[in-house]
C-alpha cells in the first residue's frame, strides 16, 4: 500500500539520531510543561517555537509534537497525585485518579492513565495514517449547528451524574455558565459582566478556576483533616506497571468507546477536554460498575485519558489537512508551520511528503518514547506522595500560583485562584458539585457562540438543529442521553447485568 511505504519512508526520516534525541528531549520538556498547571501545551510550545526556528522543519515539528505528547502524558500526573489537573483535559482524570491515589493506588492510577493515553494516541495515529483524506472531509461537514449539537451531547452525556440536591447541581452548572460569559461576546463584540474593570475583560480562565477549585480546595480540606495526604503510605512497588497491565484488558469496551469518542471529537474539532468529559460520562452510564465511579475506579481513569489522548492526537489532522486547529496547542503548531514556510492544507500531503510522513512516523515513535519515559518514572512520581505535607503543600501552592499567573500573565488570576480555592472547599463540603461547574465553564461560551451563530444562519429558526441527518442525529442522541434515566425506568429490563 502507498501509505505503508510512505510511512516506512517516514520512519527512516524520523529515526535519524538527531531526531530521536530531539524526540526524547521533547517528551521530557512536555512532561515538565504538562505537570506545571497553567504553563500548558499551547503556552509551552509557543514559548519554544522560536527556538526551533533554526532547525530543519521536520526536526522542529518532531520536537514540538513530542512536547505536545509529553504535555498530554504529563497532565495526568498532578491530577492523580494532588487533584490538580495540569491540563484542562485532565480534569475528568481527577474524578477517579485522585481517590485511587488516596487509597494508596497512585502507581496503578498513573500506569492506567499513561497506558490508556498511549492506546488512545495509537488508535488515532492509525486512523491518521490510513484515513486522513476521508476524515478531513468529515470535519468539513461541521458548521455552527453541528458544533452546538456536539456540545449539547457533551453536556447531556455528563449531567445527571451527581447525587444530592438538584438545586445545587443546577446552581453550580449555571455559575459555570455565568463565569464563562464574562469578557467579550464573540457574536456582538460587547463586553459582558465586566462592570468597567479592565481586569475582568479577559474573563475567567478555566485553568485558573480549576487550579483553585481542585488544587487549593484540596489542600484546605487536607489541612482540616489534619496534616496529611492520605495516600502518604502508598506502597511503591516496581511491579505495579505489570500488575496494572494485567487488569487493563477487562476495560477494552470502555477503551474502544473512548477511542471513538476521542477521534471524532479531535477531528471535528471539538477538542480533548469535551472528549474526556464525554467519555467519562458515557463510561459511567454504560459500565457495570458505573455507580462506583468517583470512588477510585481504574475504568474511570482509563475512559477520559484514552479519549483525551485520542482527541489530542487526531486534532492534528484537521490542522494539517485543513489548516484549522483542533486545539489551542494545534493552533500554535499551525503558526509554526507557517513560520517554517509550510502551508497546511490539502496539498501539504502531496508537496511535503517527507514532512508529513516524518511527522506521522514521529507520532508512533514519540508516543512509544513517551510511554517508556513516563512508565519508568511511575515509582518516582508515586514517591512524591511520601514527601511530608508541610514541605509539599507550600510548594504546591507556589506551583499553583505560578500556573495561575502564566495562563494570562495576570496577577489578578492569582487572587482569583485563591478565591476559587475557598469556593472549592466550601462547595465541596456543602455538596455543590464542582464537575458541572467546570464543564459549563469550559464549554459554556463555545456552546453559546455556536448556538447564536446557528440562529444568525437560520434567522432565529430553532429547526436548524434538525436540518440534516448529521446534526439531527447528534441532537437526538443528546436528548436520548439526557432522558436516559427516565428511559431506564420505563424499560427496566433493558440493562440486565451480564453473567460473569
Amino acid at each position: 500500500m502507498a501509505e505503508l511505504s510512505a510511512l516506512f519512508h517516514g520512519f527512516a526520516v524520523a529515526l535519524s539520531p538527531l531526531n530521536v534525541a530531539l524526540m526524547f528531549l521533547g517528551i521530557l520538556l512536555g512532561v515538565v510543561i504538562g505537570v506545571l498547571p497553567g504553563l500548558g501545551g499551547a503556552n509551552g510550545i509557543a514559548i519554544l517555537l522560536p527556538l526551533t526556528f533554526s532547525m530543519p522543519p521536520t526536526s522542529a515539528i518532531i520536537m514540538l509534537s513530542c512536547i505536545y505528547w509529553g504535555a498530554l502524558f504529563g497532565g495526568a500526573i498532578t491530577s492523580v497525585l494532588f487533584n490538580i489537573p495540569g491540563e484542562p483535559w485532565s480534569v475528568a482524570t481527577t474524578f477517579d485518579g485522585y481517590p485511587m491515589a488516596q487509597q494508596g493506588r497512585a502507581g496503578e492510577a498513573l500506569t492506567g492513565a499513561f497506558t490508556s493515553s498511549f492506546i488512545g494516541a495509537l488508535f488515532a495515529v492509525i486512523i491518521f495514517t490510513f484515513l486522513a483524506p476521508l476524515v478531513a472531509g468529515f470535519a468539513l461537514q461541521f458548521g455552527p449547528p453541528e458544533f452546538f449539537s456536539v456540545y449539547l451531547l457533551t453536556f447531556c452525556s455528563f449531567v445527571g451524574l451527581g447525587r444530592g440536591s438538584p438545586f445545587k447541581i443546577v446552581a453550580a452548572m449555571m455559575i459555570g455558565f455565568a463565569l464563562a460569559a464574562v469578557g467579550i461576546d464573540t457574536v456582538t463584540g460587547q463586553l459582558r459582566l465586566t462592570f468597567g474593570f479592565a481586569e475582568m475583560m479577559r474573563g475567567f480562565d478555566f485553568l485558573v478556576a480549576v487550579i483553585g477549585l481542585f488544587g487549593i480546595g484540596e489542600i484546605l480540606q487536607s489541612m482540616e483533616e489534619g496534616l496529611a495526604f492520605q495516600g502518604k503510605s502508598a506502597k511503591i512497588n516496581p511491579r505495579v506497571v505489570l500488575e496494572t497491565w494485567a487488569k487493563l484488558p477487562r476495560y477494552w469496551a470502555s477503551s474502544f468507546r473512548a477511542c471513538l469518542i476521542g477521534c471524532a471529537m479531535g477531528i471535528v474539532p471539538g477538542g480533548a477536554t469535551p472528549a474526556s468529559f464525554m467519555s467519562y460520562g458515557v463510561a459511567k452510564r454504560v459500565s457495570r460498575d458505573g455507580n462506583k465511579f468517583g470512588a477510585g475506579q481504574l475504568e474511570g481513569v482509563v475512559a477520559p485519558e484514552t479519549a483525551a489522548h485520542a482527541a489530542g492526537t487526531s486534532a492534528l489532522l484537521p490542522m494539517l489537512t485543513l489548516g484549522v486547529p483542533g486545539s489551542p496547542t494545534a493552533a500554535v503548531l499551525l503558526g509554526g508551520l507557517l513560520i517554517w514556510g509550510l502551508q497546511p492544507g490539502p496539498l501539504l500531503f502531496v508537496e511535503q511528503k517527507d514532512f508529513v510522513w516524518g511527522l506521522i512516523a514521529s507520532m508512533y515513535l514519540g508516543n512509544i518514547a513517551g510511554l517508556i519515559v513516563v512508565l519508568t518514572c511511575v515509582p518516582f512520581f508515586a514517591a512524591i506522595l511520601r514527601v511530608p505535607f508541610s514541605i509539599i503543600a507550600p510548594i504546591i501552592i507556589v506551583i499553583c500560583s505560578i500556573g495561575a499567573y502564566t495562563v494570562h500573565n495576570a496577577m489578578m488570576d492569582i487572587w482569583l485562584m485563591l478565591l476559587f480555592g475557598v469556593v472549592g472547599y466550601t462547595f465541596k463540603k456543602l455538596d455543590y458539585p464542582l464537575a458541572p461547574l467546570v464543564l459549563a465553564l469550559v464549554l459554556g461560551d463555545r456552546a453559546e457562540d455556536s448556538f447564536r451563530q446557528s440562529m444568525l444562519m437560520s434567522q432565529g429558526d430553532v429547526r436548524i438543529f434538525f436540518s440534516n441527518v448529521l446534526v439531527g442525529g447528534i441532537t437526538t442522541l443528546a436528548l436520548v442521553l439526557l432522558l436516559w434515566p427516565l428511559l431506564v425506568r420505563v424499560l427496566p429490563r433493558t440493562r440486565q447485568p451480564q453473567p460473569g
Binding site: 533554526s54 455552527p144 463584540g189 479592565a198 489548516g323 499551525l334 490539502p346
Partner: protein
Amino acid sequence: MSSFGHARRALLLAAAALVGLPTAALGWEPTKPVEFVVPAGTGGGADQMSRLVQGIVQKHNLMKQPLIVVNKSGGAGAEGFLHIKEAKNDPHKIIITLSNLFTTPLATGVPFNWKDLTPVAMLALDQFVLWVNAESPYKSAKDYISAVKAAGPNKFKMGGTGSKQEDQIITVALEKATGTKFTYIPFKGGGTVAVQLVGKHIDSSVNNPIEGVAHWRGGKLRPLCVFDSERMAYKDKIAGDMAWHDIPSCKEAGVPVDYVMLRGIFTSPGVSRDAVDYYLGVFKKVRETPEWKKFMTDGAYNTTFMSGAEFVKWLEQAEATHRTLMQEAGFLAKK
C-alpha cells in the same frame, strides 16, 4: 537631546552599519528582556508574526537581550493595549497591533487610543480578499454581488473573524457600496472562517490571503477581488496558473471598497527617542532577513514601511476612516 546629537548618532549608526559593527553599542539598549505584547490569542496572524520576529531576532542575533512574546488578548485586545498604556516610560515593552488598535476602543468604549502609545513603525499592511467556494458559480465579484442583490437581503451569509472588527467593517462597507445586505456570522478565528467556507456553511468570506491561500491552492476556494485600490504585487504562480497579482482589485471589479490592516509596532508612552530609534533599527534589520521576506511573500502582504511623522499621519487617517465606517455601521459603543 539636541538635534545635533541626534544627527551625529544617525551618522554613527550609518557608519557602524557600513563597517558591520554591532550598532546596538550606541545609544539606548535594552538592559533586560523585552516584552513583546500580542493583543490577540496564540496562533492568530499577529501572534505568528511576532513569534517569527522573535525567531529572526534570535537566529540573526539582532538584539542582545531576548524578545519575549506575551499574549494579552482579553477584551478584544484591550488588555494588551492597556498594559502598554499603563507602563509609562518603560522602553522594555513593545506591542504589535492589528486593526483592533482602532476598533476595540471605538466598539467597546475601553479608554485607550493609539495616541496613548508611542508609535515605532509600520511593519506591513495585511490585505483582505473576497472569497467564495470554488464550486459556486460566481466567477467575478460582479457576478457574486448581483446574485446577492437578486436574492434579497439577509439571504447570503458572510463569515468573518469577530464582531465589530475589520471583517465586519469590510462587510458593512461592501453593503454600503453595492446596496446589498448580508447576514454576517462572526467566528473566533480566520482559519475557522476559511474552513466554514470550504464546507459551504457560509457563502463568502473576507479572509486575509494567508488564511485562504491553502484552500485556494487546493482548489476549494476562489478569490474574487482584493479590497484595495490596486492589485497585489506578487507575480509568482500560486494556484495553478494564477498569481496574487491576477486577482483583480475590488475597485476595478466595480466594488469600490478598500481596506488594509495595520501590522505595526508601538511602545509604551513617554519612551525616549533613543529607544524608539533602537527598535526602529532592529525592525529595519528584521525586514532585511530572507525569513521575513518569505513570510511576506507567502502571506501576500503589502510591505510598505513607515515611521516617524509619516506613520503618525497614516495613523490619524486610519483612525478617522475607522471612526467613519464604524459610525455608519452603528458599531460605536453607546456612551
